[in-house]
């Protein structure tokens, strides 16, 4: 389910800072043997969040993740948003938000009036049309799930289904991030939260 079309690169910088400084280094250490990292952007809208993750990994973890199997799966209910995301071409008002000038020139190619995400950043991103309230196809387990500003727009029974779907797809040591105005209060028995940089990072609660 798409939350809203309002999005930008590195929306909520502090959350991305917490990912960079704390969450991802832990995750990479945990996955050192498998050398595999799976990220799911649920409700990816026009793709900025998925590409921000790709950019973050490349800028700060290229060495640590060299030779790893890394994928960012991004889903949205809206087909046109997914098409837009997959194309990876952004207009001036979009690249004017959230990206430093250095990132822009390094990670985007100018194409006519647009900017196109560099092929190596796009390569790890896979966009699919999917409803977060329905079970996801495939069998991947995700180390990190970003489902920000999606729950806000769902009625409570659909929120519960979305949580259930996400929970089933999270690696046992995986982390879930919600939007700043969202909490997992419906399902406090399913998750435990680490409060980092003003954000809750949810882990699966130990069962039994």
């Amino acid at each position: 389910m798409s939350g809203t079309m309002e999005t930008s690169f590195f929306r909520d910088r502090e959350m991305f800072e917490a990912l960079r400084e704390i969450v991802l280094p832990r995750m990479i250490a945990l996955n050192a043997d498998a050398r595999r990292l799976r990220i799911w952007c649920a409700g990816c809208s026009t793709g900025q969040e998925a590409y921000s993750m790709s950019l973050l990994l490349r800028e700060h973890f290229a060495g640590a993740l060299a030779g790893w199997d890394v994928k960012v799966v991004a889903t949205d209910l809206a087909e046109d948003a997914v098409d837009y995301a997959r194309r990876g071409r952004y207009r001036r008002p979009e690249v004017n938000r959230g990206l430093t000038a250095k990132m822009l020139v390094k990670c985007f190619l100018r194409e006519d009036e647009d900017w196109e995400i560099a092929p190596e950043l796009r390569a790890i991103c896979e966009f699919r049309q999917a409803d977060v309230c329905e079970p996801m196809t495939g069998a991947e387990e995700f180390d990190l799930v970003l489902m920000r500003n999606v729950l806000l727009f769902l009625p409570s029974h659909e929120r519960a289904r979305a949580f259930e779907n996400v929970r089933h797809r999270m690696d046992p040591s995986g982390v879930l991030v919600l939007g700043q105005a969202e909490q997992a209060e419906d399902l406090t028995n399913l998750f435990e939260a680490d409060y980092l940089r003003g954000h809750n990072f949810y882990r699966l609660a130990k069962q039994g």
């Binding site: 910088r13 001036r92 004017n96 938000r97 959230g98 430093t100 000038a101 822009l104």
Partner: protein
């Protein structure tokens, strides 16, 4: 926080001033690069940041940022180019000459605030 707004359009200067004053930034204006350098020579500590247009008479924004960094005027001052010029090669040149950030026109108040935050400037 203090800012020097450099643009040959008085409408753009007024627009930037309004946006910045709303977040508590004290603004000074200059109409081109040469006037900006004169203004900087006349002040002891410079400004926290400069918003610098590119296409201006007498001295362009690129010439201005280059002169600024070569002469060491306002060494701590952050410089953000604010312009419609936005080819990657142009942005790279501006960064090489010593600009810290880049904001493309047209922009929103939120976009301006975000870019200031990226330079470590929060009002």
């Amino acid at each position: 926080m203090t800012a020097l707004i450099v643009d040959d359009s008085r409408f753009m200067r007024a627009h930037l001033r309004q946006l910045l004053e709303r977040i508590g930034v004290a603004c000074t204006e200059a109409g081109d690069g040469a006037e900006a350098l004169d203004t900087l020579r006349g002040t002891g500590n410079g400004y926290d940041f400069m918003l610098l247009d590119v296409n201006m008479p007498r001295m362009t924004g690129l010439e201005c940022v280059k002169a600024l960094r070569e002469t060491g005027l306002g060494p701590e001052m952050k410089v953000m180019m604010v312009t419609t010029e936005c080819d990657n090669s142009f942005i790279e040149s501006a960064l090489e000459y010593g600009a810290d950030e880049f904001l493309m026109k047209p922009f929103t108040a939120e976009g301006l605030r975000e870019k200031l935050a990226m330079m470590g400037l929060t009002a």
